[in-house]
């Protein structure tokens, strides 16, 4: 009897995949989109002002209009009152501007080059993280951005191995399962790759740190992101079997707090997706 190779075994390694090439790509991206790269590098320095960022942003019409669109979106509740780029930067905050520049830098704004449902799950993770941030002593703005960028690494893996990643996705629908499969196939999880990229671009370690410990249930630093992925999974994965958030957070959060968050995320995710992208 001939043993059939298991799919996992098939995914265990991707000889054609070169992590060095992926990592090198992170550097070349910056060269291709200098405005976005400049925003990424200066946005969070202490002496940055809305005027400085707006002046830089003005050179990239697509990115600037996206920031304006986001500032006037329901997420910030300003109802069309944001009419200048500088005020838009003030409203969305510097970290968000930096996040949007990162999105542009990594081609995340082109949905055709991303895994299926990438933005639906990304905005859900981001909104959930932002809504629960204060429960975990975090700043909502930072956690929104972390959520938006958490899957940058996934996108990078997908860019470099579209067919392989699609196959991986088909076999592992849950977030943690997918991360494990990524490690098996690429030697690194998408989330870990995100951490490397963000750190390389100078995002603060306090923001990047949770990415490395998201699958370590004993780590309280990863708890918020774990819950955010749990909320996103409940909303975006058909037939998903919910995990008790108390287990995910070592009792820091209870199930009864999740209801209103699920509701708000369900309402706001699509709007946020539209604001982040051009269409």
């Amino acid at each position: 009897m001939t043993a059939q190779p298991r799919p996992v075994a098939l995914l265990a390694a991707a000889p054609s995949f070169d992590l060095d090439r992926v990592l090198a790509g992170i550097d070349t991206m910056a060269a291709q989109k200098p405005v976005a790269a400049q925003i990424v590098s200066v946005a969070n320095s202490d002496d940055t002002s809305a005027r400085v960022l707006a002046d830089i942003l003005a050179a990239d019409v697509a990115l600037a209009s996206r920031v304006m669109k986001l500032a006037n979106s329901a997420y910030f509740g300003m109802r069309g009152r944001v009419t200048t780029l500088q005020f838009a930067v003030t409203v969305v905050g510097f970290t968000t501007v930096r996040t949007m520049a990162t999105v542009a830098l990594t081609d995340l704004d082109d949905e055709s080059r991303l895994p299926e449902n990438f933005w639906a799950s990304t905005t859900s993770v981001a909104l959930a993280a932002s809504l629960l941030a204060t429960r975990f002593g975090e700043r909502p703005q930072d956690t929104l951005c972390l959520g938006l960028l958490a899957q940058v690494g996934v996108a990078l893996l997908h860019h470099n191995d579209p067919d392989g990643y699609r196959e991986l996705l088909a076999q592992e629908s849950s977030f943690p399962g997918r991360r494990a499969a990524e490690v098996r196939r690429y030697g690194i999880s998408g989330m870990r790759l995100t951490g490397v990229a963000l750190e390389q671009w100078g995002f603060p370690h306090s923001m990047v740190g949770p990415l490395t410990v998201v699958d370590d249930r004993s780590s309280s630093d990863g708890a918020l992101l774990r819950v955010a992925f749990e909320v996103a999974a409940r909303l975006t994965e058909p037939g998903y079997e919910a995990v008790d958030v108390a287990q995910l957070t070592d009792g820091q959060l209870r199930e009864d707090a999740v209801g209103p968050v699920l509701e708000q995320v369900a309402q706001g995710a699509e709007e946020l997706r539209r604001a982040m992208l051009d269409n």
């Binding site: 990592l23 997420y75 509740g77 300003m78 944001v82 703005q141 690194i188």
Partner: protein
């Protein structure tokens, strides 16, 4: 010490310099350096400086050959590649495992050598004391701020981005009755009344731009309640993050309700709850546009309200007013205003109507009011006289319109009770003219432009005049002389009689005192002053006392003349006032005696000294009818009173009246009224030759 790898030696740099730099790096304790190399397919440490040994706790011998993965266990699987890049420098935050097994958080900067076979790792502990201290201070600040707002009884919001809240305190949660999870982000926007939200966002926009601001907003509570609040915003800037705001909320619901109550009280009648005169004026003024039509006022005055008040009591009167107010409210069209003008007067204001519509409404009101109302066990049918005015071109302002419907109401009243009258323009002109005259009269009294003239009164016994009657005269600048028969009733109607009476009393006393100085014993001994029925109250005595004492006169120098009809209005009260004056020593005379309906019984009890026979009876003497004058003189004589015959026009009449027994005579035939100075000259002239028994007619002196 390990030899310097020649590969990194730059041929342009002298070996001594390279050696010197390496030595400095090797012994530095503030700088931790490691060199790694792939040995046997695995990256291993090949060298470390003093700083690295100090930081990680290893001796150089133990460090050498140590797999990099052992120092950095968090880089699992192929993740070491992330740090040990061949093409570029990598920077990562990583926990290092020290010799004791304890982890220390570090930032590591990994630079590959040009050959790509070795890496230089520069390690900085992320856990240094300065950073810890800074973080601790920041944490303390944040905790203080959180404690301050969390426990503050003032509802407080904190946004870090746009309208998105990062914090709400318990006080805000309990104000709106929601949990903080429902309010964070933009959730709180649902608590703001939709009509107020734009104003709030407007202010937030200003505040995020760097200013301060406040907005009034209604907050919706979970239980359906609503609170009126002032939200005060302050700009909040976090370096490297952006702008937000802190907002504190003041609940002003109770204060506004109180102010509204006060405003309502100021503009409404407490009895009926209807708008009062002030609000009526504002309401009409707000709708009045000169030259337009369609605005109408209906002025209602209840007929016989005084009867209800007097017979059934004030409580019943109030009940009636409330009932009338309710009926008016029910009968007018939506949007019409019903106001209580005062007393038993109401005004209805309607828009977009013509005269026919207004009259129809007035009729409807009349019908609604006529339904019986039971008061104190009695069925009363209220009726009202209604004056109607529709705005026309001649109305210059809102007040004109209200004034005209008032006039129309008086016209209705004059025509008989329970009538509806649309303003007659002629009557309006008359009424307006009267209003102007009242204003002029008020000015004349204030400026003491009312002049007094004095007509001598003669004793029949010796023909000598020792008394005068003060007569008020008003010379109007444009209209010429105005008769007292016009301006005295006008003063009575318009509440000016007190001031006029006071002026006459005071001026008469002043004149008497002046005559005393000029004429000595020849000055008139007494002056008669007319007093209106309306002055016959408790104020009269102090007024008389003040006038006399003000000019140093004895009470006997004054005689107060009161008409017979005035005395009969309220005989008991009149008697009290007269008695006080009499007790003071002032003389009292009944003027125009015989023209009213005196009760002889009362007359006997009234403390008077003199009856003045009305000029109409005196005039009858010339026609041969002496009956009434004879009877009056006889009546006075039997009561011990003196008499003054007025209107003595001829010497014959004077002789006849003397014959009939009149005590004193007064009339144009004897002496005309004169100014104070004229009278002084007249008395001075009369004093020199002894007078005849019956005075003859004389020409007036200036």
């Amino acid at each position: 010490m390990t030899a310097i790898p020649t590969a990194i030696a730059d041929p342009r740099v002298a070996p001594e310099i390279v050696s010197s730099v390496f030595y400095g790096a090797a012994v530095s304790t503030s700088l931790a350096l490691l060199v790694a190399e792939t040995v046997g397919g695995e990256p291993r440490i090949t060298w470390g400086n003093e700083g690295a040994m100090h930081l990680l706790g290893y001796a150089l011998e133990d460090l050498r050959d140590l797999p990099v993965a052992h120092l950095l266990p968090s880089l699992r699987g192929g993740e070491l590649k992330l740090l040990l890049r061949r093409e570029r420098t990598a920077r990562m935050n990583l926990p290092f495992r020290t010799a004791s097994g304890v982890f220390t958080e570090c930032v590591v900067l990994c630079t590959p050598t040009p050959t790509g076979r070795m890496w230089n790792l520069r390690i900085v502990s992320a856990d240094n004391e300065q950073e810890r201290a800074l973080r601790a201070t920041a944490d303390v600040h944040e905790r203080r701020f959180a404690t301050l707002t969390e426990r503050s009884p003032v509802p407080t919001l904190l946004s870090e981005q746009g309208m998105r809240l990062a914090h709400v305190n318990d006080a805000f949660c309990s104000l709106v009755g929601l949990q903080s999870e429902q309010l964070l982000g933009t959730g709180w926007m649902a608590c703001i009344h939709p009509d107020d939200l734009d104003g709030v966002i407007e202010q937030v926009a200003v505040v995020l731009g760097g200013g301060d601001g406040e907005a009034q907003a209604r907050l919706l509570q979970r239980d359906g309640g609503e609170r009126r609040t002032v939200i005060r915003f302050a700009h909040l800037f976090t370096p490297g993050v952006g702008a937000g705001f802190v907002a504190s909320i003041e609940d002003i619901t109770e204060r506004l309700a109180f102010e509204t109550r006060l405003a309502h009280q100021a503009n409404h009648d407490p009895l009926t709850g209807l708008p009062n005169r002030t609000l009526l004026a504002e309401h009409v003024a707000a709708r009045f546009v000169r030259g337009q039509a369609g605005l109408a006022c209906l002025f209602l005055d209840l007929d016989n309200f005084k009867v209800v008040n007097d017979s059934l009591g004030h409580a019943a009167g109030d009940e009636l007013l409330v009932e009338v107010a309710d009926r008016l409210r029910a009968v007018v069209r939506p949007g019409d205003l019903v106001a209580r003008f005062g007393g038993d007067e109401f005004v209805v204001v309607c828009e977009d109507v013509d005269e026919d519509d207004a009259v129809t409404l007035a009729e409807r009101i009349g019908a609604a009011l006529a339904e019986p109302v039971r008061l104190g066990g009695v069925d009363v049918r209220p009726h009202a006289s209604v004056g109607v005015t529709v705005q026309a071109d001649e109305h210059a302002c809102a007040d004109d319109l209200i004034r005209d419907c008032d006039i129309a109401m008086y016209q209705a009243k004059d025509g008989g009770k329970g009538r509806i009258t649309v303003l007659d323009h002629h009557a309006r002109a008359q009424a307006r003219d009267k209003l102007r005259l009242v204003a002029d009269l008020r000015d004349a009294i204030e400026r003491r432009d009312i002049a007094l003239q004095y007509q001598p009164i003669f004793a029949t016994a010796d023909g000598i005049s020792t008394a005068v009657e003060s007569l008020a005269r008003w010379q109007h600048a444009e209209r010429g002389p105005i008769s007292p028969t016009t301006f005295v009733p006008l003063a009575e109607e318009s509440g000016l009689i007190g001031a006029l009476g006071s002026l006459v009393l005071d001026e008469t006393c002043r004149q008497l005192a002046e005559w005393d100085r000029l004429l000595g014993a020849d000055a008139p001994r007494r002056a008669n002053v007319n007093v209106s029925a309306l002055q016959l109250d408790a104020n009269l005595l102090p007024l008389v006392v003040a006038a006399l004492s003000g000019h140093g006169l004895a009470p006997g120098r004054l005689s107060i003349e009161i008409t017979e009809s005035a005395l009969m209005k309220d005989p008991d009260s009149a008697r009290t006032v007269l008695q006080q004056l009499r007790d003071l020593g002032v003389q009292l005379a009944i003027d125009d005696f015989g023209t009213g309906y005196s009760s002889l019984a009362y007359l006997r009890h009234l403390p008077v000294d003199c009856l003045k026979v009305d000029r109409s009876f005196v005039a009858e003497i010339a026609e041969g009818h002496t009956e009434i004058t004879t009877a009056v003189i006889a009546l006075a004589g039997s009561l011990g009173l003196s008499t003054v015959a007025e209107g003595v026009e001829t010497p014959e009449l004077a002789a006849e009246l003397t014959r009939l027994g009149a005590t004193y005579l007064q009339g144009f035939g004897l002496a005309v009224p004169m100014s104070g100075a004229g009278a002084a000259a007249w008395y001075a002239q009369r004093a020199s030759p002894p007078g005849s028994a019956v005075p003859g007619p004389r020409a007036p002196l200036p």
